[in-house]
Every structure is written in C-alpha cells, then in structure tokens.
Amino acid sequence: MFEQIKHNMETIAGVEIFPVLSLLIFFSFFVGLAIWVFSYRKEKIEEMSQIPLND
C-alpha cells in the first residue's frame, strides 16, 4: 500500500520536506489544542457550559 503512495509522491520536487512539515503542523495543532483545553480552570468551564441554561 505504501509503495503505491510513495510512487506518486516521488515526482514532486522537494517532497522529502512534506512529511516533516505535515507532522509538525498536525503535532503542534493538536498539542496546542490539548494545552488550551486542559489549562482552563474548572469553574470557567462550568460557567460556560451553563450558558444555554441561563435564559
């Protein structure tokens, strides 16, 4: 399966940088997201989740 994918990629100039770049983009995106979400204070989270019930 990966042979099949590799073959199509070989024709692109400078393709070696793509996997590294992709990994970096994704790693930083999801790690950043995780840090953001888990650094919330619990009270803040609760306050926000109550918004729909407060009208």
Binding site: W36, E47, L53
Partner: protein, 725 residues
Amino acid sequence: MEMQQFYYDNKIVKKFIYATIVFGVVGMLVGLILAIMFLFPNITDGVSWLSFGRLRPLHTNAVIFAFVGNAMFAGTYYSLQRLLKARMFSDFLSNLNFWGWQLIIVAAAVSLPLGYSTSKEYAELEWPIDIAIALIWVAFGINMIGTILKRRERHLYVAIWFYIATFVTVAVLHIFNSLELPISAMKSYSVYAGVQDALVQWWYGHNAVAFFLTTPFLGLMYYFVPKVANRPVYSYRLSIVHFWSLIFLYIWAGPHHLLYTALPTWAQNLGVVFSIMLIAPSWGGMINGLLTLRGVWDKVREEPVLKFFVVAITGYGMATFEGPMLSLKNVNAIAHFTDWIIAHVHVGALAWNGFMSFGIIYWLIPRMAKTTLFSTKLANFHFWIGTLGIILYTLPMYVAGFTQASMWKQFNPDGTLTYGNFLETVTQIMPMYWMRAIGGTLYLTGMLVLVYNIIQTVRAGESIEDELAEAPELQTISAGRVKGEKFHPWLERKPIQLTILATVAILIGGIIQIVPTIMVKSNIPTITSVKPYTPLELQGRDLYIREGCVSCHSQMVRPFRSEVERYGPQGKAGEFVYDHPFLWGSKRTGPDLLRVGGKYNDNWHFNHFWSPQSISAGSIMPGYKWLFDNKAMDVSMTENKMKAMQTLGVPYTDEQIANGQKDLRTQALKIEESLKSDPDFVKSYDDSKKKAEARGEKFVPMNEREIVALIAYIQRLGTDIKVKK
C-alpha cells in the same frame, strides 16, 4: 449593574419553522415520487419537467437547502439570540435572509424542472441564482456577526463557533465551486474542466455535507440537547476539541468521492487518510451529545423531543462511522456507484437532519406559542413511524448496494462476466426499490402527522410574539485585567479572531489539495488524440446536462477487471480536459456511458430514447419523447458556446467557431441519413410528415430536432482513445 430590557425576535424563528415544514413536505414528496419512478419509470411519460433527471436535483436541493436550510436558520436565530442575550443585529437583515432564501428556493423549484442545471451535484442552480445565494448568505453572516458584537454575554458558547464556521466555510465553498462563465441568462460553463472540476466539485460536495448538514446541526445539538434535558453538556472541554479538530480535518476529505477515478492518486490517498481521522472528532461529538443525557434517561421515555434527539445523534454516529469506512479504497470499490451510498446519505438526512429538526420544531412551537404540544401521543407516533421509515428505507438500499456490486463484479470460470447485461443487475433489486418506496412513504406520513400536530398546537396557543428579556450590559474590561489574561479568554471573547482562526483552519486543507491539481500541469497528462467536441456534440452534451442523465449514468470506468471487461478501458485524466463541466456522475442506476460511443448504431439510440422498454424489456429508464417533438432545436447559442469554451482554454479555432452552425448542420444531416437506413424509421418518419401536413403544421426535419444532437454526443463518448480493431 443596570438591567437592560430587550425583545428576542421570535417571529423570524416562527417564519423559518413554517418554511421548514412546508419545504420538508415538498422535498420528501418529490423524493417519494422519484422512488416511485424506479417502479413505474414512465409514470410521467412525455412531460419533460416531471422527468426523473430533472426532479432528482429538485429533491436533493429541496431537502438540503430548503428543509434542512430553513431548520438551520430557525434553530440558529432562536439559539443565537439567547446565547448572546441580544436581539438579532438587524431586523431588516433577518427578513432579507428569510425572504431572500425562500425566493431562491422558489427560483430553484421553477428552474430545475425546466432543465436549467449546471449538473454539479448540490450546486445545480444556474449562475444568477448562485449570485443570489452568495448575497443572502452574506446577509446572514453580517446579521450573525453583528449580533455577536452587540451581545450581553461575555463568552461565546461553543454552538456559536459552529455557526461561525458554517457561515465562513459555506461562503468559501459556494463561491469557488460556482465559478462559471455565463453564456446566456440561464446557462453557464464551469471554469474548471474534467479532473479539476471533479476535485473542486467534491471538495464542495463533501463539505456541503460537512458545513451545511453537520456543523450547524452540531451547534444546534450543543444548544438544544442541554436545553431540553435541562443539564449542561457532558464535557465542554470535549466540545472545544470536537469543534477545532472537526473543522480542521473535514475540509481535506473531499477526494474520497473520487477514489479509483482519474484524479491523481496522491489526492485520493490524502482524502482517505483524513476521512479515517474524521472518526475521532465525529464520535467525540456524538458521545458528547448522548452523554449529556446521563442521569436523565428516564426523561427520554416521556419526552418525544428527546427521543428524536437520541435517534438523530445515533444516526449521526452511524453515518460518521460509515463515512470513513466507505472512504477505504477496498470498501469504496464495492460501495461506490451503488445504492449503498443512497442508504448512507439517507441515514444522515432522515435520522440526523430530519429527526434533529423535528425535535427542535416540537420543542420550539409550544414554547413560543405559550402552550403545550397539542398531542404528545401523535408526536410519539411520528417518532415511531419515522424510525420505522428510516429502517425500511435504508436496509433494502444496503442490500441493493451489495447485490449490485456483487453482480457487477461476478465472473464465470471462462473469464466472461456472469451478468454481462447490466439490466439483470437492475431487475434483481426491484423488490428493494419497492421496500424503499414504502419506507419513504412511512417517513412522509410521520411528517404529515407533524404538520397536523403543529397546526393544532398553534391554533390552541397564543399568537407568537417577540419575547421580553433582560440582561445587564456587557462591561468593558479594564486594561489591567486584559494585560494578564491568557489565550482562552482572548479568543473566546473575540469573535473576529475566532472567525479568522476558523477560516485559516479550513483553508489549509483546501489549498493543499486544490492548488496543486489546478496549477501543476503534470498532474493532468494530455492525450493527443483527444479533441474538442464538435458543435453538434456540444449541443448534445448540453442536452445531456439539461435532462440530468448524470443522475443515473456515470462516465468513469474504474481500473477494475470487471469494469474494463464490461465498459472498456479505464478513464484517464487526459480524456476530460475539454469537459466543462465534468460528467463523471456518482451513481449507476444504469450502466456507465464513458465508452458507449459506437457500441450501438444511431437507430438503436433513436428507438431507445423514444421508449427504452421497446429495446430492453424491464428497463427502468424513462422515455425522452420531448426530444423528438416537431420543433427545431435552439442552436442560436452555438457560436457563443464555442467562444466561451475557447475562453476557458478549449482549442477551437476562430474558423471553427465561424463555421459552427454549418458544421453542426452537416453532422446532423449525416445522422439523419444514417437513421434512414432503418426501413421502420423511414416509414414512421413519412407517416409523421403526412400527419403534420394534414394538421397544417410546419414539419421540422429530423436533423433539426434535439434527439439528433443527443445521439451525436452519445456516439462520440469514449471514441477519442478507442483502439480501432
């Protein structure tokens, strides 16, 4: 803090709900008519505007944009005001949004049956309507963002993030996929051709599902499920992860609609990888929705609204598990082009969108009319008959899909196809089409029960008026507090930043996939023997588009032994470079037509278009008798069409364009001559000539009628790279 008084605009919500109900009935009814046409293909014989190919886009557009669209606006307008503690930014924009949207729907309901179609799925509407959609959509966006800016609630609840992403992404998708070159008031050609058109179309098509049918409804889920269950969402943290990962991943998945086609393999594989990853956020969202009901499952027993929600969210979970599975190339090889896909989309539409909408309607109407639902019993009945309808619709379609795929791929020991005649694979699944029609009938019955229940509720209640509310004005935060703040409050208090970040998240995937395919020439190898269509073939191709042939016939042979054996060599990217728009199709109710040119003679097609059943007994293709009418086909646009194609890069010479009409006539006369080789044709042709004379009508010779152009196009298909024996 001083309390400010203001009114929530309930009237606009009411209008959108009524429109949802009306167009829900219409959209489902058209769907049922289409299901019946599988059983009685000639039930609207001779009536062009009631033919299958023209009604099919009407059904999909009515359900997606009219039914689900109006439900989305209703739910958004209701929840947005309450989540922000503010009336909508502008009553004018609210009403412009409402009336503009309904006008677009009416324009679609008129133009699609008349055959004005671009043929690109879920983007069939012609260019003037496309422009109207863009304007009204922007009005909705301005109204929403304006409301956010004058809000009285500091934090933007997660539902609003989903609404913002919906607005931004649908705008981007709609504009890029609708780039077309007009040649007249109601006709245009896509600026992209072949493979590129396919990629842009399915980048759009897939994300129409993502950002029109999914993200707004997830926003509604995050508001209405906690509201009805009267408890906060299971995990607000999960909802944040859900939002960002969903919009970041979804936009890449489009190419899974084009697996095994002539699309470059790297793009196909990229689509597969992201589709698989999508399970995670989708199921995160589903779990978050369902677990919101933890501890209150007893309420589900009594409250029909929650029943609808539970089945809706379950349907979302099923469809979003199935979607990634269908994106696996080996599964897609079976499912693509079959009724399995029809089952898949109806789990999404009937369960997720339909049941979510029903739940919201049953909850909002009594609340706004300050009364109780007329009959909970009837609502429960709707729930059960609707659920049964979904099951009876989808299960037979799964069976039909597997049956089709297995029969298409079945070989005899001697290497020939077991079911070489495509028709055998159709007649085999007729019982499934019957059951599907019954399932659809049950679902529509439930919808009619809703109509009755809502009318009675509204009659018993007070007239729906704007609702008084009060909340303190939002205090500006002092500079000292802003200085030390972290990223979160900065982001979720700032709608503009949030909108920009969401836009960036959705643009990354789009750019990486689309730009190389459009810019890099080597991605589309050209084939020297592939030539532009003749003027008559171009005319015929436009008829093929007008009649919606693409609804049932693909033009893409995949590289499987079974398909090459049945249809001929696989489709190659270079074959489609002059196809504005591409016509690969997504469903094979009938056989693929990529290489049908020259397979049968002109008379075969002539008779077959008149009455398919006279050639193939048991065929479920309808006749196209209006193409034979004693009426000259409109060829006045020929030069304009060729010029437009020239502008788009099709290598017509100026001489060819100048001779367009003449060449068209020469080829048409040739086809008329070849038709005359059949004595039966000559006899009936002479008869009709005499009849016309007897009636005193002007007789239009066959070469001037539409059918000849369509035959010319069909006979051209696939012949450019045919190996001469």
